[in-house]
Amino acid sequence: MSSLYDEVTPTPPSDVPTRRVTIDVNGEPRTVDVEPRLLLAHLLRQGLKMTGTHTGCDTTNCGACTVLFDGRPIKSCTMLAVQADGHSVETVEGLASASELHPIQEGFKQEHGLHCGFCTPGMMLAAKALLEENPNPTEDEVRWALSGNLCRCTGYQNIVKSVLWAAEKMRAESN
């Protein structure tokens, strides 16, 4: 039996028109043929096999699929892959280097910012967009910036602490 997720594959049947797009994903140009209805979240997960981007609600509510699109956070379940042609996308796979965690990832580890981890990639990318613009946010500003991302485990307290921890570390590193 085919699952729901087999219905749209990264390589659609030969009679379906596709468009060739080139998207900069975590600094690497990726050229793929997509049918217009393929969502960016599904291109990332199924087409490019980058499953760090999670799809939670699929209805533009939860923010688990948040990625950075030209540096700004968007819900990748609510953008067509074809729309990303010529743009840059950063996913959670782009955060850590080969040898070290990104300070935001480290913050989530230090402050226990995750339980099940499902919302975490989206939280971290929303946090990254915040800290790039506002390196020294208040707790309120962190809560506000993350208000489009749902977590059902933590009660948010430790997520907010994680982001504040990361902010402090990033400030220290840039001095």
Binding site: T59, R72, P73, K75, M79, D85, S147
Partner: protein, 291 residues
């Protein structure tokens, strides 16, 4: 969830986009921010044959504030552009107050102001704000441009006055007479939920008197509710406790709330009354400080 299959074009000019709409003969739809359209495609509430993506059209992302205080907002201005505009904070307080209450911060990076107005959701914040402001939408079709006043633009829930081959290219807020004051309040269960009730207030004050009073409501009826007639009790005099109470009661009476999981009809009407009164009292107090 997947949308049904559709064709896709990303034109580089408004004229080219109109060409695709015309060729689509009613089966083509404009894609701007997509924050309402894409969810509707996924739920298959909408199944157009063609999407015409206007995001590649240059020159539609402007917020122009004229010397007379009129404001023009292009079709690709995102919610967050409104939220971040320092100029709008003083030039248009109703918009500035509503901006950070639209959807959630991540939706705001992508969704557009004009697209939200076109979506004509009865719970939409911008349609209510534009109605209170007495604004209009400039639309362009094969025969050129025309203006549609907000009261004629929203025809019903999710219905706007655009012809199938027309594009809403900008939203216009007319020049104020005197000083524009106002605010926007929204009750939502959590960030990103639809409004339980929202109130947009846009006044013009000249020589201490209210010379124009626009009030509109979202979430308390089957469409955006224009309560400007109810607000007319404010016009021609300074704000006073009596006029504020009279307006709050008249506006609450103009609401058409329905009981649902967000609250009872009576509760929502009470919220409208409280919000109108709270916004107007806030304005009256700040006016006193200025005087």
């Amino acid at each position: 969830m997947y949308p049904s299959r559709f064709g896709y074009e990303a034109p580089k000019s408004i004229e080219e986009a109109i060409g695709y709409l015309t060729a689509g003969a009613g089966e083509a739809k404009i894609l701007a921010g997509g924050q309402s359209l894409v969810p509707m495609l996924k739920l298959r509430f909408a199944a157009p044959e063609m999407l015409v993506d206007i995001n590649s059209i240059p020159g539609l992302d402007y917020i122009n504030i004229g010397a007379d205080g009129s404001i023009r907002i292009g079709a690709l201005v995102r919610h967050e552009d409104i939220e971040r505009s320092e100029e709008l904070k003083t030039a248009q307080p109703t918009l500035a107050a509503a901006a950070h209450l639209v959807a959630d911060p991540i939706v705001r990076t992508r969704g557009t102001f004009v697209g939200s107005v076109c979506h004509a959701d009865p719970q939409g914040d911008w349609a209510a704000a534009m109605t209170a402001l007495g604004g209009h939408i400039v639309v362009q079709g094969p025969k050129g441009k025309r203006e549609i006043a907000m009261k004629d633009f929203v025809l019903g829930p999710f219905q706007n006055a655009l012809a199938f081959n027309e594009i809403a290219i900008e939203a216009v807020i007319p020049a104020p007479q005197g000083t524009p004051v106002g605010s926007y309040l929204k009750l939502e269960r959590r960030v990103g939920d639809f409004a339980t009730a929202s109130v947009a207030v846009a006044l013009n004050i000249q020589g201490g008197n209210v010379v124009r009073a626009g009030i509109a409501l979202a979430g308390v009826g089957g469409r955006t509710i224009d309560a400007t007639e109810a607000a007319s009790v404010l016009v021609g005099k300074p704000l006073s406790e009596d006029s504020i109470l009279a307006a709050a009661e008249a506006v609450a009476a103009a609401a058409e709330p329905r009981t649902d999981h967000r609250g009872s009809s009576d509760y929502k009407r009470q919220i409208v009354k409280t919000f109108v009164s709270r916004i107007l009292t806030g304005i009256a107090n700040s006016e006193q400080k200025v005087a």
